[in-house]
């Protein structure tokens, strides 16, 4: 058995080399002093990091991405928290269907959703592109918000809520003073997971860009089509650091078990 385990261990190391190797390689190439991407880099330079700030579109689209992901997140919370609460707290007819409806944005291919939104939200409803982008990202985030919050509500003992109610607190007061504080870490984790989904989104955003409105991932795609210098590698490193920080916070708040459950 020892032999077999060693074989498996080696195999697993190779799997992780495959998964992480490309991300390590891209990080190294970001320090290349020349203007052609190379591995290993021929020296050490931060010029491509400076270039991120020199190319105005990167800063503009970064701000758009932040704005859309944060505001969309807030909207998704306002819509999602009451829904998650209703779905976990009460039994009622049609609950299964509603559950399905709230999860469905993850089932429909993103690229299809993006196209349908372009057709209806932008063209038929005539929303400005910026608003369409925001709406698209809210739809995208809603299932993640509902799923994560519902899962932390499933660990919450509703007897505590009953106790507060029987002691004379109102429904709303109980919700804000008893239920919400108890699932606080779940809510923050939901915010971060949804934020990452939205911030990295390409499929929906690619249809919602127009004159002057674009998100960072879309701007990166456009840049790669025309340039093959290490700027994207440098942005990638910054994005990975950002991702690692958020992932660390999620781990602290609720563990990473959310990701292993399907």
């Amino acid at each position: 058995m020892q032999e077999k385990n060693r074989g498996l261990a080696l195999f697993t190391s190779l799997v992780f080399l495959f998964l992480l190797g490309p991300l390590i390689i891209i990080s190294f190439t970001s320090f290349e002093p020349g203007s052609v991407l190379k591995f290993p880099p021929e020296g050490f330079s931060l010029r491509w990091y400076e270039n991120i700030f020199d190319v105005e579109m990167f800063m503009t689209t970064f701000k758009t991405s932040m704005f859309v992901s944060l505001l969309g997140n807030l909207l998704a919370l306002l819509l999602g928290i009451p829904a998650a609460y209703a779905l976990s707290r009460f039994d009622f007819r049609g609950k299964g269907i509603l559950n399905g409806v709230f999860i469905s944005p993850v089932l429909i291919p993103g690229i299809v959703m993006g196209f349908a939104m372009l057709k209806y939200v932008i063209v038929v409803y005539n929303l400005p592109i910026y608003a369409g982008l925001l709406v698209g990202h809210t739809v995208l985030m809603l299932p993640f918000i509902i799923r994560v919050i519902a899962s932390s509500l499933s660990n919450f003992d509703f007897a505590i809520e009953e106790a507060a109610l029987s002691l004379g607190a109102g429904r709303l007061e109980t919700f804000f003073k008893v239920v919400l504080p108890n699932i606080r870490s779940g809510i923050i984790a939901a915010i971060l997971i949804a934020f990452l989904e939205s911030f990295n989104n390409v499929d929906i955003s690619v249809f919602m860009t127009g004159p002057g409105v674009s998100t960072l991932p879309i701007q990166m795609l456009t840049y790669v089509e025309n340039n093959f210098d290490p700027t994207i590698a440098a942005i990638s490193v910054l994005l990975m650091i950002f991702t690692a920080i958020l992932m660390f916070i999620i781990e602290r708040l609720m563990g990473l078990s959310y990701f292993t459950k399907r």
Partner: protein, 273 residues
């Protein structure tokens, strides 16, 4: 709780999704059956009889199938190894698998452009050790797409399978062995069957994900079209919204058919699951 209270909690979300998701999707599907005011299935006939469309469809299905099989074959042993580790090591490896999953698909596909390109790491290494004498053309082929997609979805299947395997009672393995099964037999007769639900869910995620992925084929596929890049091309570059809607509908149908049949299979293979 009164009914009205319940409705008030659910209504905003339901309205929002109806307005911005359900109506756009339903209307997009409906629009494929109408052209110049009358009912037609011309769009579908056009799709199904055009050799170019069919080739795109075939490439997409091939790439997705190979990606799924590769992810299962690579992911299963790795997940088994991880699930047997102590909590500390398991936590570290899971975190290392989740990190790429949370990393932008643009970053991950771009990293493969650096490796697979004509002057990329792979070619320069192979040239240096003399295995090849002219660079391989990998980037912008279906192979490049597959590599990128395997990289994209392998973590998904690993963490799904670890989640399932963790819950298999280790006493079952001990029992099988004490009854005379070899380690390998015990693995095949206990671990594999009990992992089937996770395997099927993981495969659905990978297959449907590969079928509908946009970024990776757009960056690594070059002029090679798959169904999602073809949808984008028709919608944005060619402005043929009728055909784009037909493609979108076909994508929805395939996705739901795959999910439906795989779920059926899962209940059949594991009635208790």
């Amino acid at each position: 709780m009164r009914k009205t209270g319940l409705y008030l909690l659910l209504l905003p979300g339901v309205l929002f999704l109806t307005l911005f998701m359900v109506i756009p999707i339903v209307m997009t599907i409906a629009s494929t059956f109408y052209q110049e005011g009358s009912f037609t299935i011309q769009g579908y006939l056009q799709f199904l009889t055009d050799a170019y469309f069919l080739k795109i469809m075939l490439t997409t299905l091939q790439v997705s199938l190979v990606t799924t099989i590769a992810c299962v074959l690579i992911g299963f042993p790795a997940a088994y190894y991880i699930s047997k580790l102590g909590p500390r090591k398991k936590g570290i490896l899971l975190a290392l698998a989740i990190f790429p999953l949370l990393t932008s698909s643009v970053v991950r596909s771009f990293s493969w452009m650096i490796i697979l390109g004509k002057k990329g790491l792979l070619n320069s290494s192979l040239l240096a050790i003399g295995l090849i004498d002219k660079p391989l053309e990998i980037l912008y082929t279906p192979t490049a797409m597959m590599i990128g997609l395997i990289h994209l979805f392998l973590p998904l299947i690993i963490i799904t399978l670890v989640g399932v395997m963790e819950n298999i009672d280790p006493d079952l393995l001990k029992a099988a062995e004490s009854l005379g099964a070899s380690k390998l037999t015990a693995f095949w007769k206990v671990i594999v069957p009990l992992s089937v639900p996770g395997l099927i869910i993981g495969s659905i995620l990978v297959f449907v994900g590969s079928l509908t992925a946009y970024t990776t084929p757009a960056l690594l596929g070059g002029k090679q079209r798959v169904i999602s890049t073809f949808l984008y091309q028709n919608a944005i570059t060619l402005n043929d919204w009728h055909l784009a809607s037909v493609i979108a509908t076909i994508m929805i149908v395939i996705t739901f058919v795959v999910i439906y049949f795989m779920n059926k299979l899962a209940t059949k293979l594991n009635p208790k699951g």
